[in-house]
Amino acid sequence: MGYGIRLLVWGDYACFTRPEMKVERVSYDVMTPSAARGILEAIHWKPAIRWVVDRIHVLNEIRFDNIRRNEVGDKIPAGNVKKAIKGEIVELCQYAADDRQQRATLLLRDVAYVIEAHFELTGKAGPGDKPEKHYNIVLRRARQGQCFHQPYLGCREFPARFRLIEDDEPFPHSQYQGKEKDLGWMLLDIDFADQMTPRFFRALMKDGTIEIPRMEEGGISK
């Protein structure tokens, strides 16, 4: 067990896309563990550490909204990029106007969560990588609002604001205090070690708190 932190994140919009409805996007009811990991990594990450999300607390009422956006239907082929690296002349741009795809989104409004997480040292940790060091870096950066890139709530378009919750601070109140809700199977994370296989876990929200299983245990139901 490494050092744990508690981070309050909130924003006006969020879309934690369900994989089955990622084309005409529909969001999960609450933040997914992988989205939480993404926020933490935006604040501090080094190859020497790995973030493990322990708990997610849902503070606000779950509210949905619709939007429609213009997007594109294609990607720039990886092969073209490789060719370009080799020095061949290829077209590497995408003309959005020729490739419009209007896509609808069912997203979340006015969200606020508390992420409880800790980090562990990985095999890439050198002799200088002490947990204390990284812990203090995280605390300092989170207190000052520093980040490598703007953390976001599921989609890059929905920026997240964040604040560290200090140890002696009272815990924010959740709208779901005293309630229990089964959110069904939810994406835990992608197992990058195993051919990028998605892993799912059964999300149960009790008093607004969702316990996140570890990647190694998570997933397959008995």
């Binding site: 369900r18 409805m21 005409e24 939007i67 429609r68 239907g73 069912l106 069904g184 892993r199 139901s221």
Partner: protein
């Protein structure tokens, strides 16, 4: 969430004999005859299974092992096929050569040998024995076949039955197990954790298509599809991007197709096709009632465009419940309390789907207790209540009527696309109505100077709900009809405008263009510029009209509380202006009626 609930519903439909949905690996087929086999596999009889429809005998629908999609080639079905495959007979009107007949029969035999070989079941043994001993060349001379030859050659499907047993051979547990094992062997090669059940199972590469969403392609659209490069990620192709096991994919699509096919479970709101279902239901009364609430019966009579809705014949119990509910709404009592015949506490699902290219997008998705939905809809109708403009105006305004009011010329095609979804959301959650709805109505009023019953009701409902939500405890009451105590300037000016218009009408009956046509928009937005002109004009009208003095007095009363004419009104005040105008107008109208009577 959505897929999960649909899959659960499918599992419930499976248990329900009347629902008629197929099990995985099975599909519907039209069956004409049953071949009765003896234990040793001799053909003992042919039973006509057709049912009378009108004057004709038609094949009956039956659940049979899933049939292949046939093109010109030869491919046999399991346990249910036409006379060519089972008996080697040439169908009427087909030019099949004898080699082809033999080939088809052989394909049928091979398939059954593959599946049934080694199965220890009387039915399996009988079928195999029958097929092995069947003489294709002399089939046509078999005494039992001769009897029904003409009908057999029509090409209807045949199934097997074992002599002295109930049901058909393809329904025998051992045969079903053999079929399932056979199907299972052909499953997708990719396995993974299913995101609906959580179990490790074969993953569907493509999901069956969903038919019956208005505006989507008639061949069907997909809820889960990855039809373009940009939608895939992590190097996965097609639906492996979203691991859903094959039987869940089959189940949820079957369930949603069933819902879309059933008039009880489907309504259309704007461009959104909405389906709803209860976790468990009392003979579908819950669904029927909800559909009726969205399209109140009274509103349907005059609206010829809603012809589709009119056709629905609601059962008497639903109609009775609907009357109960509307009576409660009128009386202002809680809607769902003590309602008999429906289960208040059942979980209820509402799903709004709209097409987007070849895909379906989810416009809204709500899960709540049924009773809560009833209360929310009741609240909506209470908020919408306003004095009628004409005696034949519907008491309760349907959602589609609201949406039509926002479109130019009430053209259903020109309703803003996302409006239906957000409106439904606010009705079902009790949140304030969408600002876009309010804006759209105000701009419609400004564009065609028409303040009708529905528009006034929407404006009132919007204001009432906004007040309730943001000014809790400090609400300004909005009444159904004219409120002489209301001293709000915008409301008063609305009233004043109605009176000035009336004065003009009295003075010059039958005018083509009244001050309403010229000044309504300007008066509601920038009263400071318009009202001085109007009041000056009115002096002439008052002098000219027969009862000018009386009108003068009333104008005085209304103006009494107004200090200044503000230079402009914001949107909320514009709404109040419209409301005051509408109320005053109706008040004039009713008083006149009484005088004449």
């Amino acid at each position: 969430m959505i897929i999960n609930a649909l899959f659960q519903y499918y599992e419930r439909l499976l248990e329900d004999q009347d629902s008629g949905v197929s099990k995985p690996g099975y599909s519907k087929a039209k069956v004409s005859y049953a071949i009765v086999l003896s234990q040793t596999g001799k053909l003992v009889n042919l039973v006509d299974l057709r049912v009378e429809k009108g004057k004709k005998l038609v094949p009956r629908d039956m659940d049979v092992p899933q049939q292949v999609k046939r093109t010109s080639g030869v491919s046999a079905n399991f346990m249910c096929d036409n006379c060519t495959y089972i008996l080697g007979l040439k169908q009427k009107g087909k030019k099949d050569k004898s080699e082809r007949l033999k080939e088809a029969f052989d394909a049928f035999v091979n398939l059954h040998q593959k599946i049934l070989e080694g199965i220890n079941d009387a039915g399996a043994v009988a079928v195999l024995n029958f097929l092995r001993s069947w003489d294709v060349a002399n089939a046509i001379n078999h005494p039992k076949i001769v009897e029904a030859l003409d009908d057999l050659l029509e090409g209807g499907n045949l199934v097997f039955r074992l002599e002295g047993t109930e049901g058909y051979i393809h329904e025998r547990p051992a045969i079903m197990a053999a079929w399932n094992a056979f199907c299972g062997g052909q499953d997708s090669e990719v396995t993974g954790q299913c995101l609906v059940t959580g179990h490790k199972s074969p993953i569907a590469r493509l999901h069956p298509s969903i038919k019956g969403v208005t505006g989507a392609q008639s061949s069907g659209a997909s809820l889960v599809s990855f039809n373009l490069e940009a939608f895939t990620s992590y190097g996965k192709s097609q639906s492996y991007n979203a691991p859903v096991s094959e039987h869940v994919a089959f189940g949820y699509t079957t369930a949603i197709n069933y819902l879309l096919n059933s008039e009880k479970h489907r309504i259309r709101i704007g461009d959104t096709t909405t389906v709803f279902w209860a976790e468990r239901s009392t003979n579908g009364v819950e669904e029927d009632l909800l559909g009726a609430l969205f399209f109140p019966a009274e509103g349907m009579n005059k609206n010829n465009e809603d012809a589709e809705q009119k056709q629905i014949i609601r059962d008497p119990q639903t109609v009775q419940l609907l009357h109960d509910i509307f009576a409660r709404i009128r009386a202002g009592t809680p809607v769902s309390a003590g309602l008999t015949g429906v289960d208040r506490n059942v979980n209820f699902y509402i799903l709004g789907l709209a097409p987007n290219a070849s895909r379906l997008s989810v416009r809204f998705w709500h899960v709540d207790h049924y009773g809560n939905f009833l209360d929310k809809i009741g609240q909506h109708y209470i908020d919408m209540a306003i004095i009628k403009s004409f005696a034949n105006d519907p008491e309760f305004i349907s959602i589609s009527m609201i949406l039509k009011e926002t479109a130019p010329l009430r053209d259903a095609k020109r309703i803003p696309p996302l409006l239906g979804g957000v409106l439904m959301r606010s009705v079902l959650t009790g949140m304030p109505y969408p600002q876009v709805l309010y804006n759209a109505i105000l701009s419609r009023i400004r564009a065609d100077q028409e303040v009708n019953y529905a528009r006034a009701a929407i404006i009132k409902a919007f204001l009432v709900r906004k007040q309730r939500y943001y000014n809790r405890g400090n609400e300004v009451k909005f009444t159904m009809s004219l409120d002489p105590q209301n001293t709000n300037t915008a409301y008063r000016l609305g009233r004043l405008f109605a009176l000035l218009e009336k004065a003009q009408e009295d003075a010059n009956p039958g005018l083509n263009a009244t001050i309403k046509d010229r000044y309504f928009g300007a008066a509601s937005a920038t009263p400071g510029f318009v009202f001085p002109i109007l009041i000056r004009l009115a002096q002439h009208h008052l002098a000219k009209a027969e009862y000018g003095r009386a009108m003068d007095k009333r104008i005085e009363e209304v103006i009494g509380e107004i200090d200044t004419f503000p230079s402009h009104f914001n949107l909320e005040e514009q709404g109040l202006f419209v409301l005051g105008y509408y109320h005053q107008r109706q008040a004039l109208f009713t008083k006149n009626e009484r005088k004449e009577g």
